[in-house]
Symmetry: D2
Subunit: 413 residues, 4 copies
């Protein structure tokens, strides 16, 4: 017996290769298809629409396939009404729950489409209905409570893929590949333009950074960017903050003598002492206020009243008192800072970049800069389709970005 | 004014280049030195001893330099007696606390040397004195309580570097460098020999693994190694366990169809559903017992009564119910499993490898296998001097290791 | 003014993303298009056909665009007759010459299609007409002579893309991406199957290798493959042969002691002496026959009467007497060995792999194995669309391949 | 029976780890040793001297070991007189020939030390004696003629290791390791200083470059450096020149649209046509003079009367008419340009960097910049002890270098 559904997709189908990925998905789930109709855009600016009949041998497979296809922007022709199941245990979704994408999503109840709040990947959809109407929002698995209403299956759901702004110059780079062989000066200008645009629209610039920011000597440039207002929020771990503080307290970062470019590999002694000093002060902010910490990125964030969320990892020493040691609490804190973010810049960290990519709506432009191609590729592979990767030297890139965005930066040098 | 101390080091000084690293350290801390005496081993098997006078302009610098030198096995000629300060706050060491190495360490009180329990890097030394005598043990910063006695400064402390077994064949590889151009079949045999030796001595083999173990197809080989008794403890994160379980439940790992080698990049839908299934069961063990989970690495560990510690990270979905979401709790759980570990095998994970390297005594042989040279290099850079790195394909390496260690493995293939 | 042409493409258009690449090409050449007709395959096994009108502002651009599109298998709807220009100088093609692909190609004269001999990339098409009919063959730029007839422009030419054998198991891997996270044991079996199939069809297996074959300890496995008949031709440089011979003469390769896995980095002294020894003998064959060279890959090739082409590079010492020091002569020698090649295996060399990829017809299956993702990616980027890349450890991969293909191999171990 | 020799080494032995490498060499050649005397520098600025007795079981091994040790600056205590053998065949050295290092070398005849001309690695030493005295010079194996006198064995030879200028700021970086985690702005300044110093001393700056110079957008910066006199000679292959010329003729490089940072992978059609155009003109210089080529790096070199040597490789298309297709001829041409070179900058090429490292005297400062750590490591591994490696983005690095060295560069931007 076969289970069948008609789905449709609209967009620059010929142009983007999305159709071949959709057909790959169908094959992966053991399904088959017929393309029933295809309306091809004749010109470059035209949109195409395809209607595809898909079927599988198993009903569950079909539901799961339909959910998967939604990550590509494929919706059912006749989505029907959303179904809801009740969670029976805390922290566990009902079987067959709808697993979210980070795309703009609508859910239909009683013939009306309700917009989902805060789109995020790999969550469930919680439904609250009361006199004020129906509210649907994403919730991570760990936060679901017994008794909550959770959307089940793929019916009654519609997602919208953000339109790639193909006409525009900026962010035309790296749409689908990762390379170190691109003219970097152009990329610097494009990233600067993206940040300026976010600020011009009253939106925040979110940075996600690893300790490489400090090791590569990018800290002074980043401090200049903080002062100039191009860093509204920082997501990082214990390492970036520790090495930044160590560098301010002792002029070193993991034993690398930063002003002369000489380095010795270890130097664990410096950083553990730096952490102890801040723990004694009570917090990074307290250390700034008491005059213990007088420079660096964290100091700049505090003195400019910018926000940061530091989330720990299993390899941390200390950690600094500001670090969330519970990673789920840390994720919650990060989610709390996403409102009004209009641009996201990931630098020299795989762990926190992937974490941020998971919770960031697909509509927010995102750039990942790392010297390691694997980091950039991994990020793209995680499904953050809006991610642009730049394989380059972090120190020089951030330096160039500061020169581009902060006219007075070089004079201080 | 200068502050002076005489230090000495014994070992294969000419042979290992350690002396040049010691002098680099002195320079890094702004110090100077005179080599007062050097007793050179005439023959290859002889040990050399050097006595060095070191001085700095600042007394604190000297203390810190002396602590640093101990990471190289350099001790004071006249160590004197250990000094102790009282911790004034929970979670904060006194200023000037002695920051530990992972070397065998002794502390002198009243003219007697006390052996430090459980050597570990970047901790403080806690002193407990009572009628039964004096006990000294390492404690991470987060666990110190106000009122505890903490060793301060470098006086009264002696460390011992494990002697590299230079006469022996195994583990002659990779003493100081990381390379992908080594005959891999030889390395496989050397690692196998290290594991057999640990087991023959009644010691445990600890594995530290990342999800690459599953992606590269190494899971069947690792299952065979679990059954054959060569995996006593596993340290990992949410990802390895999830992808292993996903692979058992759906035959895929992040969408990679493992039996045919075809892959599609994303597939987030599978893994989130796998996690939900195990959360519903209550734990991995419960899922095995109830028949939900019937294969894979985690299943093999449970059915063979082996131990595992899963520690979460900020990018985790779910996570699985067995995962420690608090990383400091996770570190404590890992420490709890180190007793009687005689060999450590790190595969395809930087995060958990570095975390384990931090808490593992220097005396335990340790091998790190990864296809990414950066991971192996990073581990060595963290100060795990006993680390040997092998840059190779994880899937083929573990496969070869299983063929070497488990005679019946290939017949099942 | 605009210049217009109608082109068509047939294939699994939806499935392969080729259409989006075609449209990218048009945009790159400053052109525009309308998709006039598209006949979509309804089912997975169906072929699709698209007819596209393309135009540019400049006639030369259009001709060049049409040539470019042929690399995708896009032909003109009405190709007309081929035009011919006469070369005016040795070593220089006429302006506007047709630049070849490595696809099966036909050229039309007087209404009849003539098959192009030996398809190869980046060449010109030479036309010879006499009583016996019309002959068209590829010729590299360096070999063209004044007075030769050279096809000009895109008219009268038709190419055929080899059909990806999507139904078959083997070589489903890596169709469009490069990854180190694939189950390697499966890949080994697929490569073995490809070699067996070539041999079963009476075709030759061509290996292209770099010195990493020796450094990673793969030489014994490769020797076994030579003896078993799975290496018919070897393309390499001075380095592979030298390190192989050095290893036979002195038991080392660039100072790496291969039997113990210990290595020291340099050792230039060994290899220059090995080269001198072979130069004295006159050739590798002479050194084998006189008993100077008694083992290794080159010895196995000589004693099994297999062929090799060694082409030098600017960094060579010596070189060995068999090495072509003129790279254009070397390319000619390589071309001379391509007849009846049915499978190509590239191992641990970027330089010779790219060189071989340039001259190999697209119809020959090709696998590139390297631990460095950049090598594999570079190869694919060069336009060798038939290339499959495997990022893995060369030593273990060739070892596994020998175990798979040569049953008695392990017993010798 | 054992064969014994006394050797000595003077230098910062404790500081540099050279002694441990010497002992490794002895072990690799199956030898043994006793350190008979060691005179330790007491202070940082003091030199140490060690006298070591070495012995082997075989006389040939001893001779070869002594030659190897000379690459470390280890000389015989009593070198005696040099021995000479006569070459019996063209292109073949006598057995037991002395294989050269790239260090300053002296040879003793009749009690007088003769300075070796043009030190270069892996060559023989040719002796010419006549009324004017004795002349000794290096000669590559391919160039030796029957009847020439060639130094044999290690006797009568003394080498001098260039003193690392440890007191100085510049070039303290990266003495023994390769890292991407160094503050890049500092490295830029150090390289700039090295170039300024060479020019101030009336010496030439040699660049060795790969096509990545063009792909990463560094060409405009490099053009500025040519105009400002910081590029006296360029060693490269067909690819750098072709992509540079292609970029000037068509505004693309291998299909990468450089002004917008958009790229498509292939684009073979552009570059083959660019080569044909230059071949038609006859040479790059002729193309500049006839107005065909009006911009780019090669154009800048021609118009500024700077020199370049292009040496081909087996993967070349065309090649350009200026390219040496015989690699041994190419090496000769490169050697011819080394006179008065005072600084060498290697950018984005492994092949030509290694080739240059082989023929460059050890006394010339050398910097290798690449985004791929493997390239930098490989260069160091080849024995170019004077090589400093910087893992960074080539485009940004050369851009920054131009800003540092050419004050007016940014204004043009």
């Amino acid at each position: 017996m076969t289970f069948t559904e008609h789905v449709e997709i609209t967009g620059h189908l010929m142009d983007t290769g999305v159709l071949s990925r959709v057909l790959d998905d169908i094959r992966e789930y053991g399904g088959d298809w017929v393309i029933e109709k295809i309306d091809v855009g004749r010109k470059y600016t035209d949109m195409s629409t395809a209607t595809i009949k898909v079927w599988t041998e198993d009903e569950d497979d079909l539901q799961r396939l339909l959910m998967r296809l939604q990550t590509r922007g494929v919706n059912m022709v006749d989505p029907g009404e959303a179904a809801v199941d009740v969670a029976e245990m805390d922290g566990v979704f009902p079987d067959g729950f709808y697993s979210t994408t980070n795309l703009e999503t609508k859910v239909r109840f009683d013939g009306r489409w309700v917009q989902v709040e805060n789109p995020e990947m790999d969550c469930g959809l919680i439904v609250e209905r009361n006199d004020g109407g129906t509210r649907v929002y994403t919730l991570p698995m760990a936060d679901v409570k017994a008794g909550m209403n959770v959307v089940s299956g793929a019916a009654g759901i519609k997602v919208t893929v953000p339109e790639a702004d193909t006409s525009s110059e900026h962010f035309g780079f790296m749409e689908s590949d990762v390379s170190s062989e691109k003219p970097q000066a152009v990329l610097v200008r494009q990233v600067a333009e993206g940040m300026r645009e976010a600020k011009a629209n009253g939106l925040k610039v979110l940075w996600v950074g690893g300790p490489g920011v400090v090791h590569t000597g990018a800290a002074p440039a980043m401090v200049a960017l903080v002062h100039a207002g191009f860093v509204d929020v920082l997501f990082a771990g214990n390492a970036l903050a520790t090495h930044d503080i160590e560098s301010s307290l002792y002029g070193t970062s993991l034993g690398v003598d930063l002003s002369h470019g000489r380095g010795v590999p270890h130097g664990h002694e410096h950083h553990i002492r730096a952490i102890n000093t801040i723990r004694k002060a009570g917090s990074i902010k307290a250390a700034v206020e008491s005059g213990v910490l007088t420079g660096g990125i964290m100091h700049a964030l505090v003195t400019n009243d910018k926000e940061f969320v530091l989330v720990g990892s299993v390899r941390d020493d200390g950690p600094l008192p500001d670090v969330y040691t519970d990673v789920i609490d840390g994720q919650r804190a990060m989610r709390g800072k996403l409102t009004d973010v209009g641009f996201c810049m990931m630098v020299a960290t795989m762990l926190h970049s992937v974490a941020t990519g998971n919770i960031l709506p697909a509509s927010i432009p995102l750039v990942c800069v790392d010297i390691n191609p694997a980091t950039v590729t991994k990020l793209a592979d995680r499904g953050s389709s809006q991610a642009r990767g730049i394989v380059t030297d972090v120190g020089l890139f951030v330096e160039q970005l500061a020169i581009e965005l902060v006219p007075e930066y070089r004079r201080k040098d």
